[in-house]
Symmetry: C2
Subunit: 149 residues, 2 copies
DNA sequence: ATGATAATGACAATCCTTTGCAAGTGATTT
DNA sequence: AAATCACTTGCAAAGGATTGTCATTATCAT
């Protein structure tokens, strides 16, 4: 149904959900479109967005990120650094990717794999547990930071 | 080297690391030994411990949990509920187990598997990423909560 | 025992995040 | 285009988990 995520298509999605299309929301959305590969925190979005629109408030950023996550545009992640980080959701992927978190520089990269599906089957049988979602993170050192380790 | 974790062996470990063996630390440790299967938050430990020793302060609980995690007695976990949860570490296991987190009751159960090791090998090759640790969580519904879902 | 030193408890401070509220704005109807 | 009304905003204050401060107290090697 949803093919590509353009600025316009997302604006339509907001309208369809009867969210008003305010300049603040547009600015925040635009910022994410310019950083599709990043995993931004609310504070970071706030800083980026302030360039375009210095009037914007941090609470508005939080509220907008909530909405964008709620309608499936963003994914809210917890990488253990004490703040939530949001990434652009690529709806095309069935099961979302895993994260490689560098203990050196804090950079987050991504990794796709379907190995977990067979694991899920085992868990369902053995533990009588209905799995709705999973979250797999690897902590280590990326190629830039890996020298000393 | 370390066979079984008894109250005494852990006390010795504290002493060896030149931590003083205060009654507060002993009480907290005892509490964990009485709840080896639980994943307790600082607040929960605080409540449990207050029965034994109403004088104890929350800050002391936090400090003690830090120490016990630092010396490898406890593992500090983040299950996404906004607080850290500590579990008794069973040193015998090479790679630590994964967690099944019930979205209904919040209960956390455990799951052992070595499937991730082959995944790690792939990641190391493909992403030039030196893996130090991993963290795998499954969110879903346990057998008690699973009815409606 | 006793002294050096670390640990405690009470409370303030911090950090990220959410909320209350008065004023403002977008979208829709006249 | 103006009126309308619910939704949004920005600000400041409140939350909740955790950490820092500091005077007092307790542990442990001597």
């Amino acid at each position: 149904m949803e093919e590509v995520k353009t600025f316009e298509s997302i604006c339509n999605l907001l309208r369809n959900r009867s969210y008003k299309l305010t300049p603040q929301r547009q600015t925040i959305l635009q910022t994410f479109l310019e950083h599709v590969d990043r995993h931004l925190s609310a504070e970071e979005v706030y800083m980026l967005v302030k360039h375009q629109n210095p009037e914007i408030g941090l609470a508005t950023v939080y509220r907008t990120l909530d909405i964008l996550a709620e309608i499936g545009i963003l994914l809210k992640n917890d990488f253990g650094d004490g703040r939530s980080r949001y990434e652009f959701s690529r709806k095309d992927e069935q099961h979302h990717h895993h994260h490689l978190i560098c203990l050196g520089c804090g950079n987050v990269s991504e990794f796709d794999d379907d190995l977990l599906e067979s694991l899920e089957a085992v868990i369902i049988k053995r533990n009588q547990f209905k799995i709705m979602d999973h979250d797999l993170k690897f902590y280590g050192y990326c190629s830039q930071c890996g020298e000393g380790h």
